[in-house]
């Protein structure tokens, strides 16, 4: 069975103690049959958790104003966008083991593409968003091509260069982007009656986040996810066993980019005003931090990381200048103490009690 956790990507220490834990943490549960590994949601508790989460997401816009936190709805929209980027990025970094330090570039392309498609061609929102996803997927495919030949530092610099290039083009190609002054984005109508514009956007964004996360979970446990994990663990071995590297590596980039593109479309609608400064190298690093802190190689980890790193800057806004230090220290600590992230630690705790007294 292929390890699902990011052990191999991060090089776990091969002491007997961790070896045992590794065996247990292959999936988030003690497995007795192969079928156990195929369930998306397992048991009554699993379904209850999912149902509670969904109900919570639906009720949020009505609940928040009641407790005087109505402004948090905007944060929730950004959170949905970040969750989508993180899940997509994790598919590339955590599952496939390909590094991308330029994901803000994909988000930027999605944001500008959706804005321009809606403004210039008068497309309805869903068409503009799908168009944005397709366009970013195309760029992802293009960036994925060098990934066939490049590994490690070389790929890191290529993707980083892509992110910088997108930013530079946006700053300098004023006809396209409005330059440094920015591009106003018209408000799209989602056609949900009886709701304010923010509430409508929230439902669309949260819906997209849920659906795309679900796709992510499913992809991870399908043959595609296993092919990606095989590439991460050893691309030569994967190729020998019949994984088409050309197809799966570019596919990973394209999917990851399409996720970022949808998130960009959401961000464009939320901010209603796009400027290149929203998509800098620092943003790419923040996305990277999300999946590292949450847990590389698991969809749940990406979601957790995105939620935490969206809420933190909001609650620490008084300490804004300390934020980079905090992020950096958190990343370093996380890598040293728990390379599998918060979710990995949670799984370990759960396993400890499940396997107790072993």
């Amino acid at each position: 069975m292929l390890p699902r956790s990011a052990d191999v990507a991060l090089g776990s220490r091969a002491s007997p103690r961790t070896a045992r834990i590794h065996l247990l943490s292959v999936s988030s549960d003690l497995l007795e049959r192969y079928q156990d590994d195929l369930y998306l949601v397992k048991g009554a508790t699993g379904w209850l958790t999912v149902a509670a989460l969904l109900v919570g997401l639906v009720a949020l816009p009505f609940f928040l104003p009641k407790v005087g936190l109505g402004y948090l709805l905007f944060i929730a929209i950004l959170m949905a966008a970040n969750v989508i980027v993180a899940v997509g990025l994790n598919m590339l970094v955590g599952f496939t083991g390909l590094i991308s330090l330029g994901h803000a570039g994909f988000v930027a392309i999605g944001a500008y593409a959706s804005g321009l498609l809606a403004a210039k061609f008068g497309l309805p929102w869903y068409a503009a968003w799908i168009g944005a996803a397709v366009i970013t997927a195309g760029f992802g495919f293009l960036v994925g091509l060098p990934a066939l030949r490049l590994t490690g530092p070389y790929l890191a610099i290529a993707t980083l260069g892509f992110g910088i290039a997108v930013y530079q083009v946006l700053v300098n190609w004023t006809a396209l982007s409005g330059g440094r002054t920015g591009l106003p984005v018209q408000q799209l109508s989602f056609g949900i009656a009886g709701l304010t514009a923010t509430q409508q956007l929230y439902y669309v964004a949260a819906g997209a986040a849920v659906v795309l996360s679900w796709v992510g979970y499913n992809l991870a446990r399908s043959h595609v996810g296993r092919a990606l994990a095989a590439i991460r663990d050893s691309d030569i071995a994967a190729e020998v066993t019949g994984v088409n590297l050309l197809w799966y590596k570019t596919l990973a980039f394209a999917i990851s980019a399409a996720y970022a593109g949808i998130a960009g479309a959401i961000i464009a609608q939320a901010l209603r005003h796009l400027e290149p400064q929203s998509f800098t190298f620092l943003e790419s690093i923040t996305y990277f931090a999300m999946i590292v802190i949450g847990g590389l190689g698991t969809v749940s980890g990406a979601i957790i990381g995105a939620v935490i790193l969206t809420l933190l800057p909001h609650y620490l806004s008084g300490l804004r200048q300390w934020l980079p230090i905090f992020y950096g220290a958190a990343i370093i600590l996380m890598m040293m103490v728990e390379p599998r992230g918060i979710y990995g630690r949670w799984v370990r705790i759960k396993m400890y009690f499940k396997a107790w007294p072993l």
Binding site: I157, G161, A165, Q168, N172, W322
Partner: protein
Amino acid sequence: MTQLAQYLVGGLATGSLYALVALGVVLLYRSSRVLNFAHGDIATLGTFVAFTLLGRKLPFSLAITGGLAAAALVGVLFFFFVLRPAKEASLLGKIVLTLGLALVLSGAVQVVWGTDTLVFPFPLSDTRVHRIGQVVVSETSLGTIVTGIVLMTLLYVLVQGTKIGLAMRAVAQNADAAQALGIPARKIYALTWALAAALGGAAGVLLAPVVYLDPFMMLDPFLKGFAAAVMGGMDSLPGAVLGGFLLGIAESVFAGYISFKFKTTMAFAVIILVLLVRPEGLLGRVYHRRV
């Protein structure tokens, strides 16, 4: 013709900066396979420390030495307290660690020195110029080129001509074997970190009179230097120098003749093209990987 020569001189000046940055990156990568994303921020920190020391009325040479020493110290501390405890992390894990350091350092510089731009008092002037034929060379460019070449020569002598250099090469080639032969690999790693960080700091100080001091001043040169290192081949020191100068000159010529605004975009496009043709860089060795 004069114009081209003028662009070439400008390219040589920026190129020597890129080469210095690239050398630091390559030194670390070939010895310990660490891709140091904090290189630029270590350099920025060193430059700011030098700036503060200058403000305390220290002589220029002492202040610069202090700045470089601070950069080297950060590098060594990071090696001993972060990288060594996590030594079995894979390539991706190490990248993540240095990214963390980069965030911490750039945050610290912002907190301590603020985000306003500061003017670095430098003994060489950008407005005083020398003429070589019809080509105009500013004092800073000349100083940058000369310092860059001197530092590169010193590094060459150190790596190729001394016992320490021999040990560094041995550790880079095979750390376990080197250790078995009695070379203190850990000390050599620490020394490599110090050297690389100090080289970065030197690049930062040389850059300081051209741009103003601000917490993100090294971001662009670092990315370019990094790219130059990748273009030259990550495990080749001559490759880093070649990549640095090539990138600097290409950028300067492109900015002069075609478009100033898109010079960074061009730089990365060229690098990606070079990598597509030679994935191991211009002077890098081809690895035959095994499963």
